[in-house]
Structures are given as structure tokens and as C-alpha cells.
Symmetry: C2
Subunit: 256 residues, 2 copies
């Protein structure tokens, strides 16, 4: 059975998409068959793998509104063992239709079950809201990976987000667990970043990844070339950090 | 009459709240009576002025659901001539209720008209989505200020956002104009940032602010102390840049 990990936070710009794109590439390079689903109407994860908004490919829209199986809408990425379901919700009306169907919490969960054991990992990139698409992802996920920027607003966003996770655990998906908190764009010289990290390790012992993602220009530049950082500059600190993260998750080191 | 400026972008983490907080402070210091309304359920702008989520103050929730006038829910900030309407949408049910009432596009616009000429500037901090709260803000605004991080995903987000602005202009608010594109967290040494800036100046001549906001630690640290950057470290490049921006808008230099 696949492990389904939602990558979510309602705080914007904390590195959800950068994590989804580079972690999926790292799992595939570690020869773990992986599926990446882009649930963010901005479509950044799709764009990071070279898909443009005028691309008429089917994707998340058909998954939710027509229950088309994942195998019919996914396509092979540039890296072997990695498939992608792009986000093709390009208008408000399409989003309204998705919202209506995603209210049926089980649509995404059922579509992923139908893939059987085809994938070791399924990653869900979420939009920066607590809206229906994020709730649908949390309903279908085994665990949630929460990127954290070591800054004040990101720390403040926690309480609301953890409340949502508890609501999901009680009502919709009792087995969802926290995969971990991942520090992104981390600058160890900032007092604030160290403070946020210490607070988090105290509040959620054993739930903060050992791997920390540094601020690194390769991670910001690679999407412009439609490839993950590992294919743009394999020796960069950013690409290496996501490989480390993939190994940390595969070995299940941090928690359990 | 007040000038109502929505600060919006569906791309997360580009500096919408940092701009709303520091520009509102800069207008007030320039002795222009200003109102800041926090329309983002994350409540970062409220937090940046020292309001916490357990604060039982009335705010945006009462404005939308009970049509309470702005004068009854706003409070005086630490800076003279600056009033704030906090965001007090702390749960999904509250947000659903707001969405139902914000479908009535004119609620916010009417509430702002009732303030008469009390303010020279009204700033609306928007969430990172194209949802009802953002649409309600664009329906009520005279213009929209769009923060841009000089990075690839931010550039990609434009097309969808400009489509939304055109839809608003045709159907809901024909007079809304672009106040300008503001470069935030700008690092002139990055090739990517320069490329994004040149592309934008070509695509939207006369709509890119001369003022550029540099990446500056004071802007990230000040919210932790519940004050805008100008009160935390007046000499910082970040605080000065927002003062320059306020003067650029007051003088109407860039466009017209
Ligand atoms: N470790 C890093 N080093 C440098 N830049 C980074 C890093 N991680 C992310 N970025 C850049 O920061 C910006 C925000 O990251 P990203 O878009 O991945 O965040 P997000 O949480 O997915 O945003 P949204 O809330 O809009 O979905 C992007 O321009 C990205 O390229
Ligand atoms: N010029 C700057 N220099 C340094 N840090 C900045 C700057 N502008 C914003 N930041 C920091 O970057 C992060 C994102 O900024 P901010 O929260 O204002 O963006 P936003 O667009 O309002 O995000 P959201 O999409 O979640 O509403 C915050 O932690 C903020 O403190
Ligand atoms: Mg994203
Ligand atoms: Mg914000």
C-alpha cells in the first residue's frame, strides 16, 4: 500500500510546493515509485515539471468531477518512477465545481485506493488555505508534512492549522498522523528562526525533522527551467537537503 | 473621499501583510488618517499590531454578518491617525457564514462608504486565494496593489490574477485600477529577480512602483513585538522603503 502524505499549511509561501516537487523527485531517485498530485489551483507544482496553463491535459478537475481514475490522467515526469497529476483548475467556475464535488470527502481517497500498490509514496501539494481542497487532501492522507518558515507569522499559523488537523482526526480521518514539521528557507543566524525551532521541538517532541532545508538559490531558480533542483544542480545544498529528507522519511527515523 | 486600496495576490508569502502593516503605519506617520482592515482569516495583520486570537474584540465577522458599522468595530493602533478592524474569523463555520454574506458583493463597499471622508486611505489585507473575501475586497476597492516576489512562481501567478481583475472590472467594479506592482524581498544580485522586473515593466509600463522593498530582517522581526517596522527600528532599510512607498503613492508619481 502507498503512503499518502499531504503537504499543507494555510500560511502562504512557506515552501509547500518546493517541498512537494523536490521530495517527489528525491523519492523517485531513491527508486521508490511516487505519484505527485497538484491540488493548488495556482498550479505551481505542475509548472515546476514543465506543464503550462495552456496545456490541455486532463488532471485534478476530471479526478474530482468525473471520477476519472488516476491512471488515465497522470503522466510520466522527466524522472523515472515519478508520475504527476497536474492541476487544471484554471477558472473560478471550475473551482466551484471542484468544491461541490470535493465536499464528498471520499472522492480523492477512493481514487488513491484504486491505484493499489502501484506507488510507495503519494504526495499531495495543497493550496495556502483551509478550504475544501486541503480538507479533501487531509481526508485522503495517511499523514501531513507541515513546512515551517522560521518566522513569526508562520508560528502564529500553527494553532489554527492544528485545530483543523484535530477536527479531521475526530470527524473525517481518524488515522491521519503528523509526518513532521520541516524547517524551510532556514537561516541559523536569525535569532527568530532558532526561537521558532526550539518552541516547536518543545511543543511537538519527536515531530520535527532532523533535516533542515537551507535558503538556497537553486531551489528558487530550478522551477524556471521546468525541472526539480536535483536535475538543475545536483550538488546544491537545496537539492542535497531534499535527498536527506527523503531518506529520513524512508527510514522512518524521526518518529515512531 | 477615502482612497481604498486592496493589497492582493493569490501567491502565498509575497509580502501582502507586511505591506499592509507597514504602509498603513507610513501613511499615518505622514499624517494621512488611515484605516487598515484585515480580511485574512490567518489574522497576521491583526497580530502584527498586537492583537491575539483569544482577543474577544469584534471585527470583520460582525462587519459582514451583522452589518455593524466600521466605527463600532475599529480600534486605535499605537500610531495616531491609524485605526484597525481586526480579523476575527477563527473557525471554518465563521468563514462559511462570511462567505455566504460576502456573496453579497456590496457589504464591504457600503460599510466603507458609511465612513464618509474620515480616512484618506483604507488598506485591505487579503488572503492568498481568489476566494470570496478577496473578491469582496476587489469589489470595494478603488485600486489594487500587487506585491511581487522576484521569483518564478510569483511571475506565473500573474496571468490568473489579472484575469480575475478583468472579470471584476467587467462585472462587479468597473472603476478598479491597478495601483501598482511592488517588488518585495528584492535581491538585486539575483538574475531571476532582474528578469522578472524587466518582464513586468514591459508588460505593464508605468505600473511598477519606483520604490522596491529589499529583503530586510527588521520587517520579519517587528511582528513578533506587535509593532510595525518603523517603531521597531526606524533606521532600517525595510522601514525606510515603506515610508518611500507611502510618499510615492501620496504624490501619485508613478502613473496617471
Ligand atoms: N529553501 C528555499 N530556498 C530558497 N527559496 C525557496 C526555498 N523554498 C522555497 N523557495 C522559494 O520561495 C517561494 C515560496 O515557496 P513555495 O512557492 O514553494 O511556497 P508555497 O508554500 O508552496 O507557496 P503557496 O502558499 O503560494 O502555495 C518560491 O518562490 C520558492 O521558489
Ligand atoms: N522585505 C522583507 N524582508 C524580509 N522578510 C520579509 C519581507 N517581507 C515579508 N517578509 C517575511 O516573509 C514572510 C511572508 O510575508 P507576508 O506574511 O507578509 O506575506 P503574505 O503575502 O501576506 O503571506 P500570506 O500569503 O500567507 O498572506 C513573513 O514571515 C514576513 O515576515
Ligand atoms: Mg504552493
Ligand atoms: Mg498575509
Amino acid at each position: 500500500m502507498s503512503k499518502v502524505i499531504a503537504i499543507a499549511s494555510q500560511k502562504g509561501g512557506v515552501g509547500k510546493t518546493t517541498t512537494a516537487v523536490n521530495l517527489s523527485a528525491s523519492f523517485a531517485l531513491a527508486e521508490k515509485p511516487t505519484l505527485l498530485i497538484d491540488l493548488d489551483p495556482q498550479g505551481c507544482a505542475s509548472v515546476a515539471y514543465g506543464i503550462t496553463t495552456d496545456d490541455s491535459r486532463r488532471g485534478v478537475y476530471e479526478l474530482f468531477t468525473q471520477r476519472v481514475p488516476v491512471s488515465d490522467i497522470s503522466f510520466k515526469a522527466t524522472i523515472p518512477m515519478l508520475d504527476i497529476v497536474p492541476c487544471n483548475i484554471w477558472s473560478n467556475t471550475a473551482e466551484e465545481q471542484i468544491i461541490q464535488s470535493s465536499k464528498n470527502r471520499t472522492v480523492l481517497a477512493r481514487a488513491l485506493e484504486e491505484t493499489g500498490g502501484a506507488y510507495d509514496f503519494v504526495l499531495l501539494d495543497c493550496p495556502p488555505t483551509l478550504s475544501h481542497l486541503t480538507v479533501a487532501a487531509l481526508a485522503a492522507a495517511d499523514s501531513v508534512l507541515i513546512p515551517v518558515q522560521g518566522e513569526f507569522y508562520s508560528l502564529k499559523a500553527f494553532d489554527a492549522f492544528m485545530k483543523l488537523i484535530r477536527t479531521i482526526q475526530i470527524g473525517i480521518n481518524p488515522s491521519i498522523d503528523i509526518e513532521g514539521f520541516l524547517f524551510t528557507m532556514y537561516n541559523p543566524r536569525l535569532r527568530l528562526s532558532q526561537r521558532v525551532r526550539t518552541e516547536l521541538e518543545e511543543k511537538f517532541p519527536n515531530r520535527v525533522f532532523k533535516t533542515v532545508i537551507p535558503r538556497n538559490i537553486t531551489l528558487a531558480e530550478a522551477p524556471a527551467y521546468g525541472v526539480p533542483a536535483i536535475l538543475y544542480n545536483a550538488n546544491s545544498k537545496g537539492a542535497q537537503a531534499y535527498l536527506d529528507l527523503a531518506h529520513e522519511i524512508i527510514k522512518g527515523e524521526r518518529t515512531r
